[in-house]
């Protein structure tokens, strides 16, 4: 270990000596926006992007494309590292004017406040329904970044989306929808209550096929056998799904005998960020709508 | 059936007592664990300048008695006194300055050098912060010299031969400068030469330092030759006690070990052997 330490040191020394100019100006190189917003929570970051005011930095930017997908992360947004292991040096070097955090980062607030004022916005407040809460958070966030008009526009566009969706759905023969994500080859999460998925479903005027209780964050972890709840449902699995799920399901008589499986009323939609805000809800609604239009017969 | 056979007058009377040496007195000592009586009503007395050999068959309670004398085990009933005072009157280090104990199983490897191991014997003499004084240094050097370990002082104890290791531990006991030494089978793992060497060492220590020594032995012939007094235990009781010279006698040995014995005489030395079946 000592040796390793020494080697590292030596290399760093050499590097440091060969690049004195860089060293002098390193922590604030050109190209970094000053006075931007550091969004340390994806839900808040996606809201900012949707409002046309993308943040200067966001945590875990590398995974964004896989789990949030939409809205796309604009180029030039700095990756601030892991959400649970904040890179304070980097956040400080960004010199943000505002830092957005979720309650899960509350314990770092005193430290963050020394960099810039930080605002704690929770998409999980149970006083409201999830969507109503997210609308409130969107407006609140907009007030912090002077984007109230954009927020108004975004929210009315969302209302328009719902009107359109209701019109399109009303032409179809509807069924209750069972929203799940497969965890492994024997278990799934099924969404209800306060989850973003279930609330968006309700917002579209659709019925949730899951009536049993769910946990605080709006889902229940169940064995796949518990999905056999009602005959006339449409099962929709949100990606990603584990690679061996299809084989496990097709070899299970319990699964293949289920009426909705027999009738082919099951399928998948692309990933949507489960703990997201309005943009995720919007993405979910659009994906759901598109999917159901291909699946359901006209009334 | 196991009545005490007094083959000789009580040991204490014919050994000269020295005023400065400590004397240990165990009275009516009994130790029982659960329903098992390990020791039953034992009386013994250890006096300065006297090597007391403790013999007896396996399970007789020899090690238990040694532990009792060394205060490693507390009595179920009875009394232990050191210099006329009950054991409880001594603090741990106070006690260790008077009685030193070498357990039967000692660590084979300690990771210490001989010198370092012997130094640990000075533990009870250090000041509160453990400064090593000139007295301590002298005691360690003397212990090393007496045991002949001074040439090996910087060797690791892990690399010593069995005999050297045994001597090293005895050196540690000597450095402790106690006036009573309790040795639990110090020679059982040694070859004949080291057995003789160790026993000679034990005897000379008792004479030079005027200490009293309690030593557990298996070899009755060695015990008879090197000890002054013998105490024989059987089933937790004292089966016989007397001067070492009178031990080698079938009449004494047979009831202790329940084995038929025969005695051969080689010059002035008498040796006892089990009788072969014919």
């Amino acid at each position: 270990m000592h040796k390793r330490g020494m080697n590292l040191t030596r290399r760093a020394v050499l590097q440091g000596m060969s690049l004195p100019a860089l060293a002098a100006c390193a922590p604030a190189p050109a190209g970094l926006s000053r006075g931007g917003v550091a969004a340390l929570d994806w839900a808040l970051a996606e809201t900012m992007i949707a409002l046309g005011e993308p943040p200067a930095g966001v945590v875990a930017a590398a995974d964004w494309r896989r789990f949030v997908v939409e809205p796309a992360l604009p180029d030039g947004v700095t990756d601030l590292g892991l959400q649970q292991e904040l890179n304070f040096e980097l956040i400080a070097a960004l010199r943000p004017r505002l830092i957005l955090i979720s309650p899960f980062l509350e314990r770092f607030k005193p430290k963050l406040d020394r960099i810039a004022p930080s605002v704690n916005l929770s998409v999980y407040e149970h006083a409201d329904t999830p969507l109503a809460n997210r609308i409130r958070i969107t407006r609140k966030l907009a007030s912090h970044i002077d984007a109230e008009h954009a927020a108004d526009a975004y929210i009315s566009a969302l209302d328009a989306l719902r009107d359109e969706a209701e019109a399109r759905l009303s032409r179809l023969k509807r069924r209750p929808v069972l929203l799940v994500s497969f965890i492994d080859n024997r278990h799934a999460r099924v969404y209800g209550g306060s989850s973003l998925y279930a609330d968006t479903l309700a917002w579209l005027g659709l019925q949730n096929g899951w009536r049993k209780p769910v946990g605080y964050f709006g889902f229940a972890t169940v064995g796949l056998e518990d999905l056999a709840t009602a005959a006339d449902v449409e099962l929709i699995a949100v990606e990603p799904v584990p690679p061996d799920i299809s084989r496990a399901l097709s070899s299970s008589p319990l699964w293949t005998e289920l009426p909705f499986v027999k009738a082919g009323r099951e399928g998948r939609i692309p990933p949507v960020f489960m703990f997201g805000a309005l943009p995720s809800a919007q993405r979910f609604a659009k994906l759901l709508l598109a999917y159901l239009e291909t699946k359901w017969d006209r009334a | 059936m196991n009545e005490i056979q007094t083959g000789a007058p009580a040991s204490t009377s014919d050994t000269p007592e020295k005023a400065d040496g400590a004397a240990v007195e165990i009275k009516a000592a009994s130790v029982s664990i659960g329903d098992v009586n390990l020791l039953n009503n034992i009386d013994i007395r250890l006096a300065p300048l006297c090597v007391t050999g403790l013999i007896g068959p396996n399970g007789a309670g020899k090690s238990t008695l040694a532990k009792v004398v060394a205060r490693q085990l507390s009595l179920s009933s009875g009394e232990c006194r050191l210099d006329e005072k009950p054991y409880d009157a001594f603090g741990a280090r106070d006690f260790a300055r008077r009685i030193a104990y070498l357990p039967q199983s000692i660590p084979v490897a300690t990771g210490l050098t001989v010198h370092e191991l012997v130094r640990t014997g000075r533990y009870p003499w250090h000041g509160a912060l453990g400064q090593f004084s000139a007295d301590d240094r002298a005691a360690v050097d003397e212990a090393l010299a007496i045991t002949g370990m001074d040439k090996l002082a910087d060797r690791s104890t892990d690399t010593l031969s069995g005999g050297e290791r045994q001597r090293c531990w005895i050196a540690m006991l000597l450095a402790q400068q106690a006036s009573v030494l309790i040795l639990d089978e110090p020679i059982s793992a040694l070859d004949i030469r080291f057995q003789i060497e160790t026993m000679n060492l034990v005897r000379s220590i008792s004479r030079m330092r005027a200490v009293s020594i309690l030593i557990i032995l298996h070899d009755i012939n060695l015990a008879a030759r090197y000890c002054d007094e013998i105490v024989a235990l059987k089933e937790g009781r004292i089966a016989w006690r007397g001067p070492a010279a009178s031990l080698i006698d079938p009449a004494v040995l047979e009831p202790i070990y329940d084995v038929r014995m025969t005695v051969h005489t080689a010059g002035v030395v008498k040796l006892a052997f089990p009788k072969l079946a014919d």
Partner: protein, 665 residues
């Protein structure tokens, strides 16, 4: 003395009672479905029948198979290794399988589709071999085996934690698997498992006779012509394979493999064949009863309670029961293994060692904090004019890590010295487990309000654990060993609890994992300075006790013989270690291995005397953690890794090397 256990239970009676419990729970669970599925007209009733036929009944079958398989595996392992504490859990079968599955999920998800079995078995084999290799150097002595198992488990856990933090969204399933759910949707997995267990059982049947002879001990078996080594390798291999099959089928079912053989022994099954028979029966019944109880009481709702975690919570305290029950049967269990102590080589050149250590530590502490990465990713050395800007962020974490590293290293040195066991470290005496429990409770109750509340909860947990562990330790002889074992039991218990919390899928669970990973982000200057000050103060305190440390390794009789009041000395030293651990844990997390590694390095450097060892350990620990912290800041930039877990990831392989090297000498 030396008598074997008294026959306290009747095996027939016990299995009867368990069966009765199973029937009662089964009746509650099955009454309704059975009634409705007989008629089965409506769609709902058809569902009931489907669930009964293809979920409930296979699940019961699966519980029987898994329980029997794990119990038999545990019995055989115990017989072969002559060790009543060995079980699939304690030799890290599960931890290895879990890590392998996590790695596969992140690196090669296709592999999982191909076969979870193979991945899990490969992982289990590697971790078991590691444990055997480490414990083999101590002749598989029971305590060494358990400690080696725990260390390997903790290491696998650390690696899994890093994966989860980096890729948590991929690994939700891992938590459920790790807590062992018996949920079934078809007969196929049960049939598959039955075939596999059978395939293991046939060769095992042939090993029965040679294994029975080992009742009389290894030497005796060898004397009557049993090829002990070969039998041992085959039997361990088959036992591990059985456990790995079960684990890959349903996930980690905790402590059945320990509890069932224990019950068989308590029932007086002295002979090996009888032990195998009863243990298999008990294992099957125990798991069925537990699983039925979980289903009956759990009902439906958001709370998902995996059966494997329940058995672990019930089963891990069994280790404690063993302390008192099996003492007479296994005297070597608690005996200090004096023949194989922690060895120290003997270079007679102490001055260069000190110069090297001091210079190294100083260099690490002064220079490493200057190295960093710029926002564009390039390396740079902090120029003096930027200290004001960067150091407020960097200094607290570095100082905190160094201070905590020093504290843990001192603690580790004391523990290894007193217990003469090279696997003893503050991580595994249960104090860290207590800290985790405290933090978990705070997070589960309402999220982390502040760094202070987390720290306080962790400290409270540590002290509760300390009181518990010391209480157990001093209730009988051989306090150091009892303490280590109590720590192992507590760690297993907390691990199970954390597993349940994680399986719930709550984002707070990720917070807990982040905290457990030793996130240095929350450390502020006050905390860091206190850790450093504590390290200095407690180093001085420990130095006052260094005379004890010189004498205690020679064993209780010798130590008492030279006038050490052994219980007082031990409890003071243990309390000191626990306090130091409790201070270090909120700063650097519960798992670093620095307390394990620093003393090893110090010994290999040839530092022998206790005071020098304490100072050298403190320096080494501080230096190691500074290095770990610098690496954590920079290697994955812009990501920062958790310092504590990074330290343990680096330490693991190094530790193995050190142990191997120490053995050669």
């Amino acid at each position: 003395m030396g008598q074997s256990l008294k026959r306290t239970l009747d095996p027939g009676l016990l299995s009867g009672a368990l069966s009765a419990a199973a029937v009662i729970f089964g009746a509650i669970l099955l009454r309704e479905p059975l009634q409705t599925s007989l008629a089965a007209d409506s769609v709902e009733e058809q569902f009931e029948r489907l669930i009964l036929l293809h979920a409930t009944l296979p699940r019961i079958t699966m519980a029987i198979l898994c329980g029997a398989g794990l119990a038999l595996s545990g019995t055989i392992l115990q017989q072969v290794l002559r060790n009543p504490l060995v079980a699939p859990d304690t030799v890290a079968v599960n931890a290895g399988a879990r890590l392998a599955l996590a790695l596969a999920a992140v690196l090669a998800p296709g592999l999982l589709g191909f076969g979870r079995d193979l991945v899990a078995i490969a992982g289990a084999a590697v971790s078991t071999l590691l444990v055997l290799a480490i414990a083999g150097s101590r002749r598989y002595s029971p305590l060494s085996m358990i400690l080696a198992g725990l260390v390997v488990s903790l290491y696998c856990g650390a690696a899994s934690t890093v994966l989860v933090l980096l890729k948590d969204r991929y690994l939700v399933g891992l938590f459920i698997w790790g807590s062992g759910s018996l949920s079934q949707q078809s007969w196929e997995p049960a049939i598959q498992l039955a075939l596999r267990l059978l395939a293991c059982g046939l060769p095992l049947a042939m090993l029965m006779r040679p294994l029975s002879v080992m009742d009389a001990g290894e030497e005796a078996a060898r004397a009557v012509g049993v090829p002990v080594e070969r039998v041992r390798i085959f039997a361990v291999g088959l036992a591990v394979l059985m456990a790995a099959f079960v684990t890959s089928a349903v996930g980690v079912i905790g402590f059945i493999g320990l509890a069932a053989p224990a019950l068989a022994t308590l029932c007086g099954a002295e002979r090996f064949v009888a032990r195998c028979f009863w243990s298999t029966i008990f294992g099957a019944l125990l798991l069925v009863v537990t699983d039925l109880a979980v289903q009956v009481t759990g009902g439906d709702g958001g709370a998902f309670i995996p059966t494997g975690a329940v058995t672990a919570v019930i089963g891990s305290p069994l280790l404690l029961v063993f302390l008192s029950r099996l003492r007479s049967r296994e005297p070597q269990l608690l005996a200090v293994d004096a023949s194989m102590p922690v060895r120290t080589p003997h270079p007679a050149r102490n001055a260069p060692v000190w110069a090297f250590l001091a210079a190294g530590a100083l260099l690490c502490l002064c220079f490493l904090p200057l190295i960093g990465r710029a926002p564009d990713g390039s390396w740079f050395i902090l120029p003096a004019n930027m200290f004001g800007e960067i150091m407020p962020w960097r200094l607290p974490r570095t100082l905190g890590a160094a201070g905590a590293g020093g504290l843990l290293a001192i603690g580790g040195y004391i523990l290894q010295r007193v217990t003469q066991n090279p696997m003893a470290s503050p991580e595994i005496i249960g104090v860290s487990a207590g800290a985790i429990m405290g933090a978990a409770i705070v997070l589960a109750l309402g999220g982390a309000a502040s760094e202070i509340s987390l720290g306080l909860a962790a400290a409270a947990g540590s002290f509760a654990a300390l009181v518990f562990v010391l209480n157990i330790a001093f209730r009988g002889p051989a306090a150091p060993e009892r303490m280590l074992l109590a720590g192992v039991a507590l760690t297993a218990l907390v691990d199970a609890a954390v597993g349940v919390f994680s399986a719930s899928g709550s984002p707070s669970a990720v917070l807990l994992l982040a905290w457990m990973a030793g996130s240095a982000g929350g450390v502020d200057m006050t905390m860091a300075a206190s850790a450093c000050a504590a390290a200095l103060i407690f180093l001085c305190v420990a130095l006052l006790g260094s005379r004890w440390l010189a004498v205690l390794p020679l064993g209780t009789p010798v130590a008492a013989g030279v006038g050490v009041r052994v219980p007082l000395a031990l409890s003071s030293l243990f309390a000191l270690v626990a306090v130091m651990t409790a201070i270090a844990t909120p700063v650097i997390g519960p798992l670093t291995f620095v307390g394990l590694m620093a003393p090893h390095m110090v010994r290999l450097l040839g530092v022998r005397s206790a005071p020098a060892g304490l100072v050298a350990s403190a320096l080494t620990g501080a230096a190691l953690m500074t290095i770990a912290d610098s690496l954590a800041r920079t290697i994955a930039f812009p990501l920062q890794l958790p310092t504590g877990v990074l330290a343990s990831l680096i330490s693991g392989p190094v530790l193995l090397l050190l142990i191997a090297k120490g053995r050669k000498q």
